[in-house]
Amino acid sequence: MFNFAFNSFYEALYMNGHGLYVWSVVILVFISLLGFFIGYTVKIKKIKDKLNEPN
């Protein structure tokens, strides 16, 4: 069940020609998640800073 499915690192990247599709989806998902996490963290920090400003 835990056998490495490929013979080499290059093969794992290439995936018999399907690597391009698989990896572009992986990149899309990770960039979206990262972007949203960073986006909300920044937004929260900004509004906290604003609220902390002495009036």
Binding site: A5, M15, H18, S24, V26, F37, Y40, T41, I44, L51
Partner: protein, 243 residues
């Protein structure tokens, strides 16, 4: 007692303090599960007998599609809660969830398109499953821009809740589209009633990736609702104490 508990938890203040307490546990737990499942699925499962290696996109596509529908249901439940009990937190949740729902639907559409190229031989077809998912994406965008166009938040919340409820009909349609009509998209591999039609060695990492992605999306919803609360209640005295 239950009523008291709900009232207490439904106050944005208690919610915010509870979120800060649990957030990092949920985040690290689901991040680890998600990354392990993705690596497991991409490298340590055998290839599929029909689709070869391109089937590995399933580990990214299915969690996103599942969440795109689940988040809409969460919005619908929040809408009903808000309309009946006028719970403010529920209203904040609706607009907090919408952008994240749009993001997961976008991932589902794009990853499905990319998956279609090596398998179906096309990246877009107007079949019932794909079209109803596109409608879901447009609905999310519509709800967000509608809310942004209002200056009166309370009016926006009410209108949004009603629209979310009306649009909820689309969710069972997406779910059942592959059974009701002939589609290019195949029917579901995992159902509540039947044995999964996906081999166990491929199924376990898939379940892991769904659980992990679910947890990460919950974290995003927590962050986004935290922002909504701070933004909407910025004039309240407790917010000053909180920040």
């Amino acid at each position: 007692m239950i009523k008291k508990f709900i009232h207490q938890f439904a106050s944005p203040k208690t919610y915010l303090y509870q979120v800060s307490r649990f957030y990092k546990y949920i985040f690290y737990f689901s991040l680890i599960i998600y990354i392990i499942s993705i690596i497991w699925g991409l490298f340590f499962t055998p290839e599929d007998f029909v689709q070869g290696n391109s089937y590995r996109i399933i580990y990214l596509h299915v969690p996103a599609s599942f969440l795109s529908q689940t988040l809409y249901l969460a919005m619908a439940i929040s809408s009903i809660t808000y309309l009946i009990w006028r719970v403010k937190l529920a209203a904040y949740l609706i607009i907090a969830i919408a952008p994240i729902g749009a993001m997961t639907t976008f991932i589902a559409l794009i990853s499905g398109s990319i998956w279609g190229i090596p398998t179906w031989g096309t990246w877009w077809q107007w079949d019932a499953r794909i079209t109803s998912t596109l409608i879901l994406f447009i609905m999310y965008l519509g709800l967000i821009s509608l809310h942004n166009s209002f200056s009166n938040h309370e009016k926006a919340d009410k209108l949004l809740s009603w629209l979310v409820i009306v649009g909820a009909v689309n969710i069972p349609i997406i779910k059942k589209s592959v059974d009701w009509w002939s589609t290019l998209h195949q029917s579901a591999s995992i159902t509540l009633t039947d044995k999964p039609s996906i081999d166990p060695v491929m199924l376990y990492p898939l379940i892991g990736s769904i659980v992990g992605f679910f947890g990460l999306v919950i974290c995003l919803v927590l962050l986004s609702s935290k922002y909504q609360i701070l933004h909407r209640e910025k004039n309240k005295s407790w917010v000053k104490d909180y920040v």
